[in-house]
């Protein structure tokens, strides 16, 4: 079973050289720490940065330079700043190749819910609805089950949707799963996790690939 950093490490292997990538808040942000040597990606922050760098050294923080999580960040050589309309322009026109984000629920048809729990405080969707409606490749980083022990991989989402038929792949502490026309396709299990464990934790239709492998982290 993986911890959050393990999930981020596994997702980092999906990132290819030269990609423009948008990382959501939470586990997706950690992916930046594990991009393999020799792979150069440009991180897009939807508040208006391409070429976002790491956090600044103490004492050099700049109130005018933050990421989409409102954290102070830096700019790498070759970075560019732009306004919010252009930022979502490059997202909508699919120039941003890969979006990695968290989710509360994903359905076997690739629907995603991650912005609202009815009856509880609703914070809003931020840029998530724009990202999932347009990105060519969407990978979800999340826990396989919620705090109540219920599966987050469902036949149909129960929470209000963020987007429909958009998620391509899910990486959890247990498994790597692809969304196919037939349902969830189990590709890889985490070290020490059995296929049965993944089956038991998945409420939606799970197809077991002929060659399920153990994740390489």
């Amino acid at each position: 079973m993986l911890d959050k950093n393990g999930i981020a490490k596994r997702i980092a292997r999906e990132v290819k050289d030269g990609m423009y990538v948008n990382l959501g808040i939470g586990i997706p942000t950690l992916v930046a720490n594990y991009i393999p040597e020799g792979i150069n990606v440009v991180l897009q922050s939807e508040n208006g940065i391409l070429g976002m760098g790491p956090f600044p050294k103490a004492g050099t923080e700049d109130a005018d330079l933050i990421n989409a999580g409102k954290q102070t960040v830096t700019l790498l050589p070759g970075s560019a700043i732009f306004d919010s309309a252009m930022s979502f322009g490059m997202i909508r026109s699919q120039k941003v190749a890969l979006t990695i984000l968290g989710a509360m629920e994903v359905s076997e048809t690739g629907d995603i819910a991650n912005w609202k729990i009815p009856g509880k405080m609703v914070k809003g969707m931020g840029g998530a609805m724009d990202l999932v409606a347009s990105a060519k490749n969407i990978i979800v980083a999340m826990q396989h089950v919620n705090k109540a022990g219920e599966s987050k991989l469902l036949p149909k989402c129960t929470l209000p949707l963020t987007g429909v038929k958009c998620v391509k792949k899910i990486v959890t502490e247990l498994a790597v799963i692809e969304i196919t026309n037939e349902g969830f396709l189990l590709l890889e299990t985490a070290p020490g996790v059995s296929v049965d464990q993944v089956k038991n934790a998945t409420a939606g239709k799970l197809i077991i690939s002929d060659n399920v492998t153990e994740m390489v982290i």
Binding site: P54, I66, F88, V122, M125, D130, A133, V164
Partner: protein, 235 residues
């Protein structure tokens, strides 16, 4: 030449009335018009509809207007960091319209570009599509549904820039740019507060982000706090 320069935030906002709709630039607390928000609090205008990506924090940004119950309706994409906001929303005192961030930006852009509506895929198939026109387009080699979203119509836009001149030309700094340029374009009357008001000719025309034609009033702000919401540093 029309004189766009005003002496203070109080003067800039003097004709903002109860019940008006205002676009306010900023992302989180970054690039917010601190001086005009303070002036609106002081003036005590109420029943405002505020369009802003976020709603500030309890004691800063739009949180200051919320504290005084001056906002009737908030149109935002993300409002997570404000306890008073949450209280007013759950008690029904505050009307809240949550919309996708790209939709918010582009509805401003449409207004500034003189177009009544846009079509976006954001929100198709979700509850925010309820009651909105959906059109199918074959675009970029793909047939997809798009939602029609209307351009904002706002009495005022209030933006914050780094530098500006008396013609109203504006330059923003780093990610404090965010929603400011498209909001500046979208106000029926646009007020710009700047950290530095420079003499005509000092700004390089090639570097202007917002041409002065979109700006009706400009003033040099003061005492900028520029609060950092999440101070993160390398360990």
């Amino acid at each position: 030449m029309i004189n766009k320069v005003v002496t203070s935030a109080d003067e800039a906002i003097k004709d903002i009335q109860d019940g008006m709709t205002i676009l306010l630039g900023g992302f989180g607390l970054c690039g917010i018009p601190e001086n005009c928000i303070a002036a609106l609090v002081k003036k005590g205008v109420k029943d405002l509809t505020c369009v802003s990506n976020n709603a500030g924090v309890d004691d800063f940004g739009l949180g200051l207007l919320l504290q005084k119950r001056q906002i009737k309706k908030m149109i935002s994409s993300y409002v997570g960091e404000n306890a008073e906001f949450e209280r007013q929303m759950l008690s029904g005192e505050l009307e809240v319209d949550l919309i996708p961030q790209g939709t918010l930006a582009t509805r401003c852009l449409a207004a500034g570009y003189g177009m009544p509506a846009i079509f976006t895929p954001a929100g198709v198939g979700t509850e925010i599509a309820a009651g909105k026109e959906v059109r199918k387009f074959n675009f970029n080699g793909e047939e997809k549904d798009y939602l029609m979203e209307m351009a904002f119509e706002a009495n005022f836009a209030i933006v914050k820039a780094w530098k500006g001149d008396s013609e109203g030309n504006l330059i923003y700094r780093h990610t404090a740019r965010n929603f400011n340029p498209m909001m500046a374009m979208a106000g029926r009357i646009t007020i710009a507060e700047v950290e530095e008001l420079v003499p005509l000719g000092e700004l390089d025309p090639d570097q202007i982000h917002t041409p002065g034609i979109y700006v009706h009033r400009i003033f040099q702000g003061k005492d900028y706090e520029k609060r950092i919401e999440q101070r993160t540093v390398l360990i």
